[in-house]
């Protein structure tokens, strides 16, 4: 069971990293307009026409 003393702090650090990454992603518009980008490939490139 002593291994828990090592593993739990590691998991806390990893979750901390995940949390920071998530906040970074939200702040950098990664979660804005989740619906639209899927349709982008269907649109003609305005420059080509």
């Amino acid at each position: 069971m002593e291994i828990l003393l090592l593993l739990i702090p590691i998991s806390i650090v990893l979750i901390g990293i995940a949390g920071v990454t998530f906040v970074w992603a939200v702040n950098n518009d990664q979660f804005e307009e989740l619906d639209r980008h899927g349709f982008d490939i269907l649109e003609d490139d305005p420059g080509e026409k």
Binding site: S11, I12, I15, G19, V26, N27, F31, E32
Partner: protein
């Protein structure tokens, strides 16, 4: 009288709404308030003497932070909520893992030191949830000291108490911990709030799309294109619309042809083409090559601006059912707090050890969140869904009426038929000293004063000028031309012996019928399958028209619909009343001034896009789509919405009634209470979002000829 729109971003619940309502109504000069918690908006009708600064100050005194314009920080709010939700989610996974170990340990004799390790782990992950994710609940609860009780008070109290007691137990190294309940409760409540926010945002976006016009237009002058702010563009200017750009103002096409994407108005993604002289509307997209148009409206009188106004008004009206739920919630919050206190005292006498847990459980389980979310969420979802197929509700409680509609009255011309009548033949009836072209010109000049849809079949008048023109409702137009009395309209109106075979529009000079104009008016392409689909959903359709009987009969057989021909506006009203007396809920679909009495009497009134402004401002529902199939959508979504509201209310009420006794008697661990209460809020929200996915009604493929895409 003035109308002011005020945004109050920290207005969250029923109690806030009634608080603001009361504060404003006490103010002198305030006539009426419409509060829309979904958009966090307050619409105030007030006397001209009362300035908006006073209103703002008053709301601020009540403990809120009002601002005048609509809220540009909506997406910031959403972001903030998403971060809090994400952190709570990550923490919840960890705390649950530790909690599982603790539960297992309780049965298997876990070593006390390992147990403590897991408790400290849970505490570590619980701290950011309480200190960050749950912060909105705390700040709203603290604000409640100034604004009166709101839904967040019991929530914040539950989170704070559970966390404080768990912390104390961890530090002492003895006693139960409730970190798992705290984290799960916060996470699920945030989820419900996040869905609620997304829903409101989607609705706002569909409304904002209506109001979002480009800031400038390209005015054509001496073959140069001058970018000009829309505010400065006068009616009748010539504008150039580039390929791929939005049309900035309503107008008529002056180039040979234009290919447009009108989906913002009609919800139909298929491109349409508009020939020279046809009307195009601001907000639609030019998908073909650039074209020239002559404007027919200024920036604040465009059709789209009018629709956006109507849509906003609807959102501000709270339906009766929502008010009912609000009243229940306003009573519930203090009741919940009393109940929790009572439970605590009762257990203190019986078994002090269990007093805290039981009181906490009651506090958590009985929070009436689901109850207060039930109706507004469903209505917002249904209205968003209807916007997608080009239907705007101008009164939100119309939705509940729609669910009960079982009869429909249709106006014929312009409603069942296209708004594009065609003049196919001119027949001279008597010699009145004017030739064929001259008569046509007089007719055209007279028809300029008419608002009947068939009047659009006539060309622009060339030379003829008509004075003293006057509309005779249900009959035609009369006026003076070169000092001779001229009339245009039905045969009877123009002195022709009444006989139904004498169909067409008659022009009379000095009481002598002079010419007959034959006008073809094609049916809307999906009229027949739409009427059939309505019939199958249990809505009986009747066509009511002022037109001759034989024309109505021909159409009626084609549509398999009952009809009443040769009706004056008053009789339309009578027919509506008769149907209502027979117990029917009547939907009246019309477009003209002559439909107004019947529309006013109807249970649900529907106007088509081409209706005159007077008609549009008086109806409950506006069809932006040219398809009558939108009516089928309207009825289907209305019924679904009513069902979702009933389900939500039934669920929320029965959940509270069943769960409270269990919690008070101590049969329920706190984590079950947290799971039950928060997931019932989430469930209600998810049930409402089902309305967004009601499929659009499409006519069976063989019944309508598809128009080829205009690309």
């Amino acid at each position: 009288m003035t109308l002011s729109t005020i945004s109050v971003n920290d207005m969250h619940c029923a109690s806030c709404v009634s608080k603001i309502e009361r504060t404003l109504r006490e103010l002198e000069g305030v006539l009426e308030t419409h509060i829309n918690p979904a958009r966090r908006q307050v619409l105030v009708e007030h006397a001209d003497g009362t300035d908006t600064a006073t209103l703002l100050a008053r709301i601020e005194q009540a403990g809120f932070h009002p601002c005048l314009t609509s809220n540009p920080r909506q997406s910031l709010r959403q972001r903030d909520l998403l971060k809090r939700l994400g952190i709570a989610g990550l923490a919840m996974m960890q705390v649950m893992m530790a909690a599982l170990a603790l539960y297992a340990g309780a049965f298997e004799d876990m070593d006390p030191s390992v147990r403590r390790l897991f408790e400290i782990t849970s505490l570590t992950f619980c701290i950011p949830v309480v200190a960050y994710s749950a912060m909105p609940f705390f700040s709203n609860a603290i604000a409640a000291w100034r604004t009166g009780l709101n839904m967040d008070v019991p929530i914040a109290l539950a989170i704070a108490c559970a966390f404080a007691v768990s912390l104390a137990h961890t530090l002492n190294g003895a006693g139960e911990v409730y970190y798992d309940s705290v984290v799960m409760f916060t996470f699920l409540l945030l989820t419900a709030r996040y869905i609620d926010d997304r829903l409101k945002q989607r609705f706002d976006m569909s409304n904002a799309a209506l109001a979002a016009l480009p800031a400038t237009g390209l005015v054509l002058e001496d073959n140069r294109r001058i970018p000009t702010p829309l505010v400065d563009i006068a009616t009748g200017s010539r504008l150039w619309v580039e390929q791929g750009n939005q049309i900035p103002l309503d107008g008529r096409v002056e180039s040979a042809e234009a290919t447009l994407d009108e989906s913002v108005l009609t919800g139909e993604s298929q491109w349409v083409s508009r020939a020279c002289g046809e009307s195009v509307y601001a907000g639609t997209l030019n998908r073909g090559p650039g074209f020239c148009l002559r404007t027919s409206a200024t920036y604040d009188s465009t059709r789209i601006a009018g629709i956006a106004d109507l849509a906003n008004r609807a959102q501000a009206d709270k339906p009766q059912v929502a008010q009912l739920a609000d009243r229940i919630a306003a009573v519930f919050v203090p009741a919940v707090l009393c109940l929790a206190a009572l439970t605590f005292v009762a257990w203190q006498l019986a078994n002090p050890e269990k007093a805290f847990v039981a009181a906490l459980t009651v506090l958590v389980v009985s929070c009436p969140c689901a109850l207060s979310l039930a109706t507004p969420a469903a209505i917002t979802a249904a209205m968003t869904r209807l916007r997608q197929t080009g239907i705007v509700l101008t009164r939100s409680d119309a939705l509940l009426q729609i669910a009960r509609v079982n009869a429909a009255l249709f106006d014929k011309t312009g409603t069942l038929t296209e708004h594009a009548p065609d003049l196919v033949d001119v027949e001279l009836l008597a010699d009145v000293g004017v030739d064929r072209d001259g008569l046509l010109d007089i007719a055209a000049a007279l028809q300029r004063h008419a608002n009947h849809p068939l009047a659009r079949a006539f060309p622009e008048p060339k030379r003829a000028v008509v004075n003293d023109a006057r509309i005779v409702p249900g009959a035609g137009v009369e006026g003076r031309w070169q000092n001779r009395e001229v009339k245009i309209g039905s045969g009877a109106f123009c002195g022709l012996p009444t006989s139904d075979a004498e169909a067409g529009i008659i022009l009379a000079l000095d009481g002598t019928p002079a010419a007959r104009f034959e006008i073809a008016d094609p049916l809307r392409p999906d009229a027949q399958p739409a009427i059939e689909a309505l019939r199958r959903t249990g809505v009986r359709s009747t066509m009511v028209s002022g037109d001759a009987a034989d024309r109505c009969a021909a159409l009626a057989t084609q549509l398999h619909i009952d009809y009443v021909a040769r009706q004056a506006p008053e009789t339309k009203l009578e027919i509506t009343r008769t149907l209502q007396n027979e117990g029917a809920r009547v939907m009246v679909v019309g477009d003209g001034i002559n439909d107004v009495p019947a529309l006013a009497a109807a249970d649900v009134s529907v106007a088509v896009l081409e209706s005159s402004d007077l008609v549009k401002s008086r109806t409950d529902v506006l069809l932006l789509s040219r398809r009558l199939g939108a009516l089928v959508d309207l009825v289907v979504v209305g019924r679904r919405a009513a069902r979702v509201i009933r389900q939500n209310l039934a669920w929320a009420l029965s959940y509270n009634l069943v769960a409270i006794p269990f919690a008070a008697l101590g049969f329920m661990p706190p984590w079950v209470a947290a799971l039950g209460m928060a997931s019932s809020s989430t469930l209600v929200m998810l049930n409402a979002t089902r309305l967004l996915r009601v499929p659009a009604w499409r006519p069976p493929a063989d019944s309508v000829q598809d128009v080829a895409p205009g690309s």
